[in-house]
Subunit: 380 residues, 2 copies
Amino acid sequence: MIPVILAGGTGSRLWPLSRTLYPKQFMTLQGDGSMLQATMKRLEGLPKSPAMIITNEEHRFIVAEQIRRIGEQLSALILEPFGRNTAPAVALAALESLKLEEDPTLLVMPADHVIGDIHNFQKAVMAAKKSADTGKLVTFGIFPTEPETGYGYIRAEGVNARNKETDGASYPVAEFVEKPNLENAQKYLQSGDYFWNSGMFLFKASRYLEELGTFQPEILKACRAAMKQTSRDLEFHRIDKAEFEACPADSIDYAVMEKTKDACVVPLDVRWNDIGSWSALWEIGGKDQNDNVILGDVINYDSHNCYVNTSDKLVATVGLKDIVVVNTKDAVLVATKDKVQDVKQIVETLKEKNRTEYYNHREVYRPWGKYDSVDMGARY
Amino acid sequence: MIPVILAGGTGSRLWPLSRTLYPKQFMTLQGDGSMLQATMKRLEGLPKSPAMIITNEEHRFIVAEQIRRIGEQLSALILEPFGRNTAPAVALAALESLKLEEDPTLLVMPADHVIGDIHNFQKAVMAAKKSADTGKLVTFGIFPTEPETGYGYIRAEGVNARNKETDGASYPVAEFVEKPNLENAQKYLQSGDYFWNSGMFLFKASRYLEELGTFQPEILKACRAAMKQTSRDLEFHRIDKAEFEACPADSIDYAVMEKTKDACVVPLDVRWNDIGSWSALWEIGGKDQNDNVILGDVINYDSHNCYVNTSDKLVATVGLKDIVVVNTKDAVLVATKDKVQDVKQIVETLKEKNRTEYYNHREVYRPWGKYDSVDMGARY
């Protein structure tokens, strides 16, 4: 089994902490290490080969240094010149893996998720492995706790998603559903037939490529061509830019999982969080007596249910409810908690205006996950 | 007539812009000059002697420089070692004025109010002068526009406070009322019998001292003693600290105006604002199409009715309603607009903790009203 870690996200909804040149998967948002490091660490003890990481070329030194710091080795560090979504990224990893082992099983994981219960996670992986060995394409389903409209849903057969007791089995997928509206999300939650789509998968490399070739032959073709021209530069695998440019962008869900007849789901009861927005960080954070999450030098007066994070000076709040305040050296964000998804609109504006606040911090989160006041300039 | 400008306030409700060592009256919050400079400027054209200013000893150089910059002379700059509220401050000025002229009329004005219509202001002053010449103690009443609970009220006789047409006359005061609750404030507003108490006054120096001697002889006695020991240091009048320490603290309203039988009110229709809080600055500020007041580098997305003021970096807001955000070099304030009065609670906390954010900015508003990045240390 080869872990395949997708570390290509931009994390724009966590601006101003997360920046295009230093996205959230490289930050320490919880616990000791970065999210990428935590993703590696939660594999310890599983029977596996060294992991592969797929990331953007711009982030190669950050990844290499973070991996070096935790004393890990990689099977490969594959660098994309630009993102083409998850289906091509996994295809690149699958093609590379077949050079290393005879049809390995791939455990595909985003680098920016939080998993609280590593024991249950590893149990589920081993259960999924049994199904993958029979040729199934396994997706991991999260027991839903609220009618979340920001996630895709998976309708499963033969299992109740409202009952967290599972027997380590996998269940046939009846249907993948895109992000629903609130009404449908409420129905899904009540029915007990639906899991949240975690974005984690497990399958044999050959089966993935087979199904990709059936449903999205263009992607497979472009990825094959891009991998043929791989140049190695130290430990970095650079793929062929021109060939990859021709590759259609598509998610693994759309391209393969929703179309294959061999999809199954393994329920995951692991205190999962995709840290998709500032409200998620409020949810998983330690609260004070007024249900505020506070990080840094903060004085609250009569404020409740707020997330306040400051890294460079005092933040004082008065009479706030359900507000997010994030202060970094070059920008302050103040947002209503139920509108935090729209932080990406701010990031879009900054990008259009080519502002430095889009690219990076004036101070920088160093690759090893420490906060540092050295100015590395607007671009690496 | 000698203008007497009270420049001893702390302006804690405008923290983090206003600081104990650089309070709001010395800042340029609107227009070209500081509030103190604007207070001086609005006297131009009136028949008067040079003004007196009473301020805290700590602010003497700021006052002197701001006055020098606008090319004005002062009759006196009286320095209090500590504040004892307005009744003693005016007594000190009255005693000093009697050394300069034969029973001058004093026009008492706080240094931190905004007056939009200077023509009407000067007309009202001249009307008040006629009453003062007959021995009356004149207070200026503001036509109320809403049931404000943060002001004192004045009940007048023979004039309708809902009708802004006045004949330049003064009217007998029936009653002074302390800050009312909302219910009473609404009654006052509807009745048409009540004006807001502006904190501006006009009377002969002798009459003020006479009434003070009647109603608060301790204050008069302490102020006389403190003024006897005045030492001149350049242009500064330092009063005797030990004698002044014995002086009871009291407001001019409590000590004299509410008790004298000779109080009268001159209505003032001048677009007055006491800039008592951040919401006042929102009210008088220029609004964008979403009714936000924006100062500095701000990007709003879906925010309404907000006041956002930043002096040192980008502030981005998402989905806010009725929120105040003020960012200075060493502190960020985020407050709900209808709770901004409680900003003083934050200032109290900072004072208790002896934090630098209480004393001054890391960067400093220079005495001449310009923003400057030179660090003058935590204390002048």
